[in-house]
Chain length 229, copies 2
Amino acid sequence: VTIELVGFDADDTLWHNEDAFREVEHRFVELITPHALPGVDVADGLSATERANLSVYGYGVKAFGLSMIEAALTLTEGTVPGVVLDELLHLTRDLLEAPVRLLPNVADVLQQVAEQHRLVLITKGDLIHQTRKVTTSGLAHHFELVEVVNEKDPETYEAIIQRLQVKPEQFCMVGNSVKSDVLPVLAIGGNAVHVPYPMTWALEHAEPGHFTFAELESITELPAWLASQ
Amino acid sequence: VTIELVGFDADDTLWHNEDAFREVEHRFVELITPHALPGVDVADGLSATERANLSVYGYGVKAFGLSMIEAALTLTEGTVPGVVLDELLHLTRDLLEAPVRLLPNVADVLQQVAEQHRLVLITKGDLIHQTRKVTTSGLAHHFELVEVVNEKDPETYEAIIQRLQVKPEQFCMVGNSVKSDVLPVLAIGGNAVHVPYPMTWALEHAEPGHFTFAELESITELPAWLASQ
């Protein structure tokens, strides 16, 4: 069986993402700590707020921005100054407007992979933000379909490959998250390649369990790996 | 030519939406006015903030929530109390979690239309929120495809009907917004039916220009109208 369709995750697979969130989280702690109740763990409070809001807010920057405002109010018992909240809104907007920073060799790798395969982009997050990133990246033309999804679960992957009329064994997903890009694809009988990013969001941590899958040090190795299948 | 594919808008076409936003806007004015600078038009300030953020935030409740927080800070020069901001966050969350309130006869109409046509749902807004509404409505099974889009422009409609392999003249869009559901569909040579909702969001106002199109008083009239084409 040869792989016909290659799925790419976007954030932290094609371009940097998590590092910018980390910087904003760091700034959040700096801004809120002077106003926080004594003994409060500000970073933990933000992370718990994000987790609690996930099922209603979904993924992405706007959800993160709303969670920051909420956590700022909670952790300071409502005493956070207006100028601090203003800065949190600006940080949110900056995340949404930041130019795409491609990871090394991504453009070249997509070009190579596209010569032999059909390509699809599958990403969680804000619809408008993810669309903006893929169009401004100049990479959109490589993808037959760009799917922004609520969750990367087996049903989601199944629906996408069914729509593109390939069998699971003809599909290979490439991404930085074992939880979102690898395990659900293996679960439906597909192939998956893990390309780790130096940092992983707390909510994306996963145990690989009994599954085995390919792990590449860099996306640069992907064309050779696909050729060897 | 017979109509093969019928597209439905969601908010204010299948279920109530704008009335809930209006209620929250009304509450926003009540909450902010006592803290606002003298002579400031609070409702106008919110609406202008939404408009200014549209290209970055997109449509939907999370965008609205972030704009409310921003407008609250701006209109009060940062003096808005924490408890008020807290309530704005709660109002935002309530909008996201509110049960779907179907418009009269919608379930029956979809059932009837589905007997003779393929159905697609095309809506702007938050990906997670629109998905939640269509799945909890119990109507999802009628639709071959549910598309949450950034903008309802001619290109968007063209891409959808191309994907579903129908010609523009075989497609008919049904919705409450002349700007989003009617004019762009007529522009690509498709058919459109306007079913007005009692209120229209300021950002959806449009001049029909030189186009003529069908206008139904209620979606209940749709099956008969389609049969007459």
